[in-house]
Amino acid sequence: MNAATSPQRPANDGQAARAAAWPVRAVLAISAFILRIERLTIIALMALLLALILLNVVTRYSGSSIYWVDESAVFSVVWLAFIGGSAMTRLRLDFAMSMLTDKLSPAWAGRAKVAAGLCVVGFAVALAAMCVLWLDPLGIAQASFDPKKFAAASFNFIYTERTQTLGWPTWVLYLIVPIFSVTLFFHALANVLEDLRLSAVARFPSFKLGNSQGIN
């Protein structure tokens, strides 16, 4: 624990506090970098979603429907869910039950927060491991990256499937799940390091968010 770092003094824009040890700074910097990309991607996906649905309305009424628009919109939302889900972890916006932790002493509440953060880190690691089982990167490499050969050997058809209207390989779209497991890992670890007071708690003014009150 670094006593020189005050937990009350927030760093700006998710930047790692200078006084923290380098591994801590590295994790916080990676998390901040990921969050910057997530911020831009969320804006882009929302704009794309709005444009796609409006395009659908316009083309349908002009009698020239574009058949792949619905599927594109659905996949935009799927990616939005995982990218936003990762960002909300770092922004500490997700719903959690605080009935018990609110009643604990500050010391025990702090420990509970760290334990909760470690559970999220553990989930990210478990999800990454399950993605390895699911996408079987070693298996496809052993099949010389030939999807048909891989499917014949493993009965795993993930690399031969294509989306219904876009005709894209589905595994490309599925990649968001392993990406999510990695970004979630860094964000959750950054939160744990802050909760351990190894660094100041970062703020993210560029997101201009209050709290998660817009959703019920």
């Binding site: 911020r39 969320i42 804006i43 996906l45 929302m46 704009a47 979603l49 709005l50 649905i53 409006l54 309305v57 619905d70 919109a73 659905v74 996949f75 939302v77 799927v78 939005l80 869910a81 995982f82 990218i83 936003g84 889900g85 960002a87 909300m88 972890t89 997700d94 719903f95 959690a96 039950m97 605080s98 009935m99 018990l100 932790t101 509970a112 927060k113 334990a115 909760a116 559970c119 999220v120 553990g122 989930f123 478990a126 999800l127 399950m130 993605c131 089982l133 699911w134 779209l173 599925y174 968001i176 799940v177 997101f207 201009k208 968010l209 998660s212 009150q213 817009g214 959703i215 019920n216």
Partner: protein, 421 residues
């Protein structure tokens, strides 16, 4: 049993609810002796949000963001004032009526309470109303948000229950209108007892000018609800068109909306909707293992011992959900209960899934207004500085009326299904 213990433990430690569901599913698979399920887990997580209906959520939240930035809410309040503002307890009626109109644009109770508390409570306080009552009334009126279409909770439910989003949104209209009317009746009674002040007298010319000034804002609910009811657009498309109409009204009629701020609004809407969407993904994994473990069937067998008919079942569910709703917020509550209760409701008791959705949503929204958690009260308290505990006491008649509506819904399914036939 191990899954339940693990789930309760991580929930109580403060792990986010979505991840509690994900972790619970992992523990279940580890305990099931079928590790092959781990290979399918990421696909289930992905598939949980791979649904057309869910597209409406980010778009509905975006409408709220645009509406806020465009000064549209203020105009709606002014319009409600022109209609009923001069009556005794006029501002209390305005509060309910404006909330009903705003609910036809916004889909979230807490967002609505946050916005309306800023506008209505200071105004009511200035006119001599008790601040606690004003804040509590705003919180109760805000419960119309997720009941009158559009509604984020109905969209989530329709995905969980595999029913048409449009059907769910339409099913909420009659219960929402009944709640509005009964809230007004309570205001009339309380107004007579406590002598609530009358609002400002306005000439017909002033009223006409206010209504004309605010009239373009009505385009938004007309486009959203009208296009769904008229079958012109589906719920998702109506949300996208609604967002465009809100932006145009905010830019060209109220003049307060700036297109340069759109990226900021898209970001907020994206993050807020991701909170809901990730919960849906997590719920899908959890319900997948529940079905694998035949949990709903086991629960159905025990429930059948107590509830012999659909009405008793709905009353039991309402009681349980009211209790659950006091500690768990709306959307997470929906995510955690629907996968277990819906199969029992539809398969064992033959309840229409759309009617069941209305009962569940009204229950959970009422939970947002019940102690000890009562998120809507906390939001109103945070905005106005009123005491949330006292707020619940002074607005107890509204809670009672909402419970009566819930009871009526359990007894008469036609209240939610009438517009669907």
């Amino acid at each position: 049993m191990l899954t339940l213990a693990a789930f309760a433990l991580v929930l109580l430690v403060g792990v986010p609810i979505g991840l509690c569901l994900c972790l619970g599913a992992i523990v279940y698979i580890a305990d099931s002796g079928n590790p092959l399920l781990f290979n399918n887990y990421p696909l289930q997580l992905f598939g949980g949000v791979d649904s057309y209906g869910l597209i409406a959520i980010p778009l509905f939240i975006l409408i709220g963001e645009i509406m806020n930035a465009g000064g549209i809410t203020q105009r709606i309040v002014q319009m409600a004032m022109a209609f009923v503002g001069s009556l005794r307890a006029g501002l209390a009626y305005v509060n309910v009526l404006a909330n009903m109109m705003v609910a036809s644009i916004l889909g979230s109770a807490t967002a609505q309470v946050a916005i309306m508390s800023q506008i209505m409570v200071p105004e009511m306080e200035r006119k001599g109303y008790d601040k606690t009552f004003a804040a509590g009334l705003t919180a109760f009126s805000g419960m119309l948000g997720p009941i009158i279409p559009p509604s984020v909770m109905f969209v989530v439910y329709s995905t969980l229950a595999q029913v048409a989003v449009s059907d769910m949104l339409v099913a909420g209209i009659v219960p929402g209108v009944i709640l509005t009317v009964l809230f007004c009746v309570i205001i009339a009674i309380l107004g007579a007892i406590h002598g609530f002040p009358a609002g400002e007298r306005r000439t017909w010319r002033e009223r006409g000018r206010t209504i004309l000034d605010a009239a373009p804002t009505l385009l938004i609910p007309i486009v959203i609800v009208g296009s769904i009811l008229g079958g012109v657009a589906n719920a998702t498309e109506s949300a996208a068109v609604g967002a465009v109409v809100a932006a145009l009204v905010g830019r060209f009629f109220t003049g307060e909306f700036r297109f340069s701020r759109l990226p900021e609004m898209l970001l907020r809407a994206g993050v807020y909707s991701a909170i809901v969407l990730f919960l849906v993904a997590a719920a899908s994994v959890f319900s997948w293992v529940l079905v694998y473990g035949k949990i709903p069937q086991a629960l159905a067998a025990s429930v059948q011992q107590i509830a012999k008919d659909p009405t008793t079942f709905l009353l039991l569910v309402s009681l349980a959900l009211l209790v659950i709703g006091t500690v768990i917020d709306g959307v997470p509550g929906l995510i955690m209960t629907v996968p277990i209760l819906l199969p029992i409701a539809t398969e064992v008791y033959g309840i229409d899934p759309r009617h069941f959705g209305v009962v569940v949503v009204v229950n959970l929204v009422l939970g947002l207004l019940s102690p000890p958690v009562g998120l809507c009260f906390f939001v109103a308290a945070a905005v106005t500085g009123a005491n949330p505990g006292r707020m619940f006491v002074v607005t107890a008649p509204f809670f009672a009326v909402a419970c009566v509506v819930l009871l009526l819904l359990c007894l008469y399914p036609s209240l939610s299904l009438v517009l669907l036939k």
